[in-house]
């Protein structure tokens, strides 16, 4: 298992090779990138196999006191800051930590990245920066894989920032378009606000524990060496970083704008790399959150709930297909956070994976639609199932899965979240979570019916099914979105379900609350039926609802004015403050502190050079007076 570091290394190696040699290689080196991530996917199976075969006696492995899971840690010395052994010196390591969480993430990331890259072969065909696209794609996947493997906070932070810069490069991939440039900057800057919290949190832990190792930090929390205040503060600071990356309110504004990137990039960002990093961070550092009274988890669950509910309402009124999916992602990320906040560790990771497969599928489907119709607005689509049957079927599978229709992956994971919330949080939470699930089914139904059902518009009569390189990844993802839920059951034999593979504390088999399950099934089915009636049959008119709630509708359609508030803050607070800083810099730092000494030296020089008169007698007089002065000095000293 100690060779699991090979997984990111393949992709790390591929990126510079493509940049340097891409133009001499067939296909501009794209196959190199696919080979690398494919190799990572193969190694993932070996890692899974050797983890299953390992026990607490295996080298590097032990049963964690915090999670109760078999955890394997392999670290090497990185560098020493200061003299080894001296007070204040720091010895840094880099290493990999393998536990079920890592393994689950490795599988998700390598598989989805592989699918997206194969899909991109056809989608990005003919793009002038085809090679560069695959190079950054490789780096993106490598950074995310490093992030999930990291066993210390420093390596995690490095990978975290690499993920950020790769998302910046890919969102702004078509940087000829001003909107893409703006979106890339927005994504980078907004997530950076959270990153500051993450960095401060890491440093706080380091100051308290004296090590960047996660296991040391968890151990310190368990034994009480880290006080409650520090544990709570560092958990909240780490959560700030997670909020930025995982687009939680109020840092969600970058994600919908990130749709300016190529659609496969959206699929990657939403399913496998960027946004789930935040959820992963909270799950990875769960011992910090859960320590003492688990106070940070209350914050996590509230932020998650607000995000889930707010984004779901916006998704319901958006008209741009990719934006509907983007807000849907935000909403589901909120659900994952909510689940973590309600001690639903297994449910959150399960939903992360189920959502990852479904959302990658939906984005690839949306990309397929965009590729053939050139439209983004749902109003310009409709009836596309007649011309793109494969896309229509797999997109519907993804939509039904996220909408929570039984048997599909999303249903089981959502149900687990509902159980966790109803067990550990009060009645307001469960009601609002159920409402979010209802909205989720409604907007998924709306997107699906608006795009693929109803009459085919004339402008789309030329639309056609996408090539095999695009449909094959979608079908494979569709199979997973359909059947992934099966791994949650207690199968006969040695496998006791996902809950016994990945858990926090103690393993639990599959469980199901009948009233919640029935309620959620009824709601999901009803939501899809209502959506069908509204958007296909037209038998239910929304005009009455729209006119009665015009005020609220306007607020939602304007995305609760988050962008406006940010704009106002930037204009009125940040820029005003910047102007003050700029003035201080120019007037004090530059004019007085930098130019001041230079100016003084010059003035002094002007005065000093006056003694160079060019008259011999003045020099002679100076020499004579100087000699006399020296003589008097020596005489006085001697006597």
């Amino acid at each position: 298992m100690d060779w699991a570091w090979l997984i990111p290394v393949f992709s790390f190696a591929a990126a510079p090779l493509i940049v340097v040699f891409g133009k001499y290689l067939p296909g501009k080196g794209s196959w190199l990138s696919i080979l690398a991530i494919g190799g990572g996917f193969v190694v993932f199976w070996f890692v899974l196999g050797s983890w299953l075969g390992a026990n607490s006696g295996t080298s590097g492995c032990f049963t964690s006191e915090n999670t109760g899971l078999l955890t394997c840690d392999y670290e090497r010395s990185w560098f020493n800051a200061g003299v080894v052994g001296a007070v204040g010196s720091v010895s840094l390591h880099w290493g990999i930590l393998i536990d079920p969480l890592t393994i689950a993430m490795l599988g998700l990331v390598t598989f989805v990245a592989l699918m997206v890259q194969i899909y991109s072969l056809a989608y990005m065909k003919g793009d002038p920066r085809f090679g560069w696209y695959f190079a950054v794609h490789s780096l993106f996947a490598a950074a995310m894989l490093t992030l999930v493997l990291a066993d210390n906070f420093l390596l995690l932070y490095v990978a975290w920032e690499l993920v950020g810069i790769c998302s910046y490069l890919l969102i702004g991939f078509w940087h000829e378009r001003p909107k893409a440039r703006e979106a890339a900057k927005k994504a980078f800057i907004v997530t950076r606000i959270g990153d500051v919290g993450l960095l401060v949190g890491i440093l706080l832990i380091w100051r308290e524990v004296g090590s960047f190792s996660m296991l040391d930090a968890f151990e310190a929390v368990r034994t009480g060496a880290m006080s409650e205040g520090v544990a709570t503060a560092s958990a909240l600071l780490l959560f700030l970083g997670a909020m930025g990356k995982s687009a939680q309110v109020p840092f969600h504004v970058w994600l919908p704008d990130a749709m300016e990137g190529p659609t496969p990039v959206s699929a990657l960002i939403h399913a496998a790399t960027m946004v789930i990093a935040g959820v992963f961070l909270v799950a990875r550092t769960f011992p910090l959150f859960e320590a003492y009274d688990a106070d940070p988890l209350i914050v996590v669950s509230i932020v998650g709930l607000v995000t889930a509910l707010g984004a779901a309402t916006i998704a319901l009124v958006s008209t741009d297909l990719k934006r509907i999916l983007a807000y849907s992602t935000i909403s589901h990320l909120g659900l994952m956070m909510l689940s973590l906040g309600a001690f639903g560790y297994t449910a959150a990771i399960f939903h992360l994976m189920a959502h990852g497969f479904s959302k990658a599928l939906l984005f690839l489907g949306a990309g397929s639609v965009l590729h053939s119709t050139e439209f983004q607005e749902t109003g310009d689509m409709g009836g596309l199932r007649k011309v793109m049957p494969v896309t229509a079927i797999v997109f519907s599978i993804g939509a039904l899965s996220l909408g929570g229709i039984p048997i599909l992956a999303g249903f089981w994971s959502k149900d687990e979240i509902l159980v966790a919330v109803s067990d550990n949080r009060n009645v307001t939470f469960i009601v609002l979570t159920l409402f979010t699930a209802l909205l989720s089914a409604l907007y998924m139904g709306r997107a699906m019916f608006l795009v693929f059902f109803g009459p085919l518009k004339d402008q789309n009569s030329q639309a056609h099914e996408s090539p095999i390189a695009m449909t094959l990844p979608m079908v494979l993802l569709g199979v997973l979105a359909l059947g992934f839920g099966l791994i949650s059951f207690n199968w006969p034999g040695s496998f006791g379900g996902f809950g016994t593979f990945l858990f926090f504390g103690h393993g639990e088999g599959f469980h199901f609350e009948v009233w919640l399950g029935v309620l959620s099934i009824v709601m999901a089915v009803a939501a899809f039926v209502v959506a069908y009636q509204i958007y296909v049959r037209g038998s239910i008119s929304l005009e009455g609802v729209r006119s009665r709630n015009a005020g609220f509708l306007k607020v939602v359609e304007n995305k609760y004015y988050f962008d406006e508030v940010y704009q106002w803050t930037v204009d009125r607070v940040v820029l005003v403050f910047s102007r003050f800083i700029a003035f201080f810099d120019r007037a004090i730092v530059n004019d007085i502190m930098v130019n001041g000494p230079a100016d003084m030296t010059r003035r002094f020089g002007v005065l000093l050079r006056l003694h160079v008169t060019g008259h011999v007698y003045s020099y002679t007089l100076g020499m004579a007076l100087g000699s006399i002065g020296l003589g008097i000095f020596v005489w006085l000293r001697v006597v």
Binding site: R609, V612, T613, G614, H615, V616, Y617, T620, L621, A624
Partner: protein
């Protein structure tokens, strides 16, 4: 024998006259001559001091004389160099008045 202080007074008088010449004269040639005067004042001082070291009027050692001979040698070289410079100056500027030769100033 003559007391040392008279030699020193003579030496000091010569030195001050030389210094006055360097400071007051305009002609470069006269300034060089004044410098020679100052050097010789130093020579007198050295030789007198050397001959009075043990207070007997006999030569105790030759340190002072050695340095005086050394100064005479250097002075000869210096005069040769100074006169060459003054000659070049006269060729270029048609004057040896040091007040008019003031290019090397601010």
């Amino acid at each position: 024998m003559v007391d040392l202080v008279y030699f020193q007074l003579l030496s000091a008088a010569l030195f001050v006259i030389g210094l006055y010449g360097v400071m007051a004269r305009r002609s470069a040639v006269l300034i060089v001559m004044s410098i020679e005067l100052m050097l010789n004042a130093v020579n007198i001082n050295l030789i007198a001091a050397a001959s009075h070291l043990d207070g007997t009027g006999k030569f105790a050692n030759f340190d002072g004389q050695l340095i005086a001979i050394f100064i005479i040698t250097v002075a000869a070289a210096e005069v040769g160099l100074a006169l060459a410079i003054i000659l070049r100056m006269f060729r270029n500027r048609s004057t040896v008045n040091v007040d008019e030769i003031n290019m090397m100033r601010w």
